[in-house]
Symmetry: C3
Subunit: 160 residues, 3 copies
């Protein structure tokens, strides 16, 4: 691609689990991929929800407590501002549907189809007791070195 | 400018509507402009408040509900940490005034005077039912491609 | 270092005071330093907690009120999502200890040992009435120009 030259890169760290920020991350990633950029998304802590299969259950009691507060899967994510007892997410989804905004699950699928690399932070997975098998297919495991080496030759890097 | 070469660029995405973060964004933008950089600020979701004229009213019931929770205009923005029933904003403003910190409205004006480009995210405006006429003069409308193409040749890009 | 060439740079602005984000910032900074990058961390507002000695007391009543809500020192920092009456921090720390995650205080020390430059935002210190003597040894004071000039020739810059 790009006449024999290496493609431009972009890298995103997603630590937030808020729906609006996670959607923003995927919209930017898909936009950059549409510009033929090679995009790496590095998910840490609450951001891991976005690439989980659906139900997160830690094995220990504490893992379960965190799983309880932090149920995985893109359907469980609320927006950062309006999330009052779930009302926010319901309303936000309604408005996005009304205005034909692509849902998060579709954005994730599009990212994978466009070759966006999805990397889960190993340390966060350890702390939150999430297993590789909890993630959707195609997710890689990686450490901070994975992010740094991508960011070092990226045209832009964002912390979301 | 810059002896015939193109100026260095910086690009900022502002999704947050918290006063401290929005102020930080404008302080960085104005600082970069003072270095003769060509700065683009791309406002999405809650960040759109910072460049609105004052009163945001969506046309549908849901738009009104979101407008109610998200009243526009720089005077309505509270800091992310201290906003307890409005007390935080009051105290924060008092302290900033006492210490001669430039108010947000002035920072926005300075940014425009220094040629900082203010772009409102079209998709967010659709979802939140905000119209171009709701923004202060000089605000452009743009999509994610607008941001990507700026970020691709920016010296630095930040997600705020 | 680097065979006579100047080292690659990375710059981070830390505005958040949330434990998970501050830890993320230091993990990235230490990771980049391990890649022989010259890293500058620029702390503003709530992020200043991470590099304070422990107890923050503003001199005026308002400074004291803010100090009360924003007690300094790395031990006082809670994670952004789970902080319910202190429970979150306790649980988070327990899980991190169980999984052998380096504590924040150690990450800060490692950063200093690796030559990461820690800069406190002067304007934020003024507003929050924090003095240079409130910071751990080795912290520099700086303005937005300090950040811009580093970010301009950094391989990546992040707003955290």
């Amino acid at each position: 691609m790009n006449d024999g030259t290496t493609p431009d890169k972009a890298s995103l760290i997603v630590m937030s689990g808020d729906m609006d920020k996670v959607m923003g991350a995927f919209i930017i990633a898909n936009g950059a991929a549409a510009f033929d950029m090679k995009v790496t998304m590095f998910f840490t802590f609450w951001g891991l929800k976005a690439i989980q299969k659906g139900n997160l259950t830690g094995k220990s009691v504490m893992g379960k407590m965190m799983g309880c507060m932090n149920r995985g899967g893109v359907e469980a994510i609320g927006p950062s501002r309006l999330n009052m007892g779930g009302m926010g997410r319901w309303m936000f989804k309604k408005m996005m549907k009304k205005h034909n905004v692509t849902p998060l699950a579709t954005l994730v699928k599009q990212a994978q189809e466009q070759g966006v690399r999805l990397v889960a932070c190993e340390m966060s997975c350890n702390v939150m007791e999430i297993d590789k098998s909890d993630f959707i297919d195609g997710v890689e495991m990686g450490g901070v070195a994975t992010f740094i080496s991508e960011a070092m030759d990226s045209k832009f890097s964002l912390f979301i």
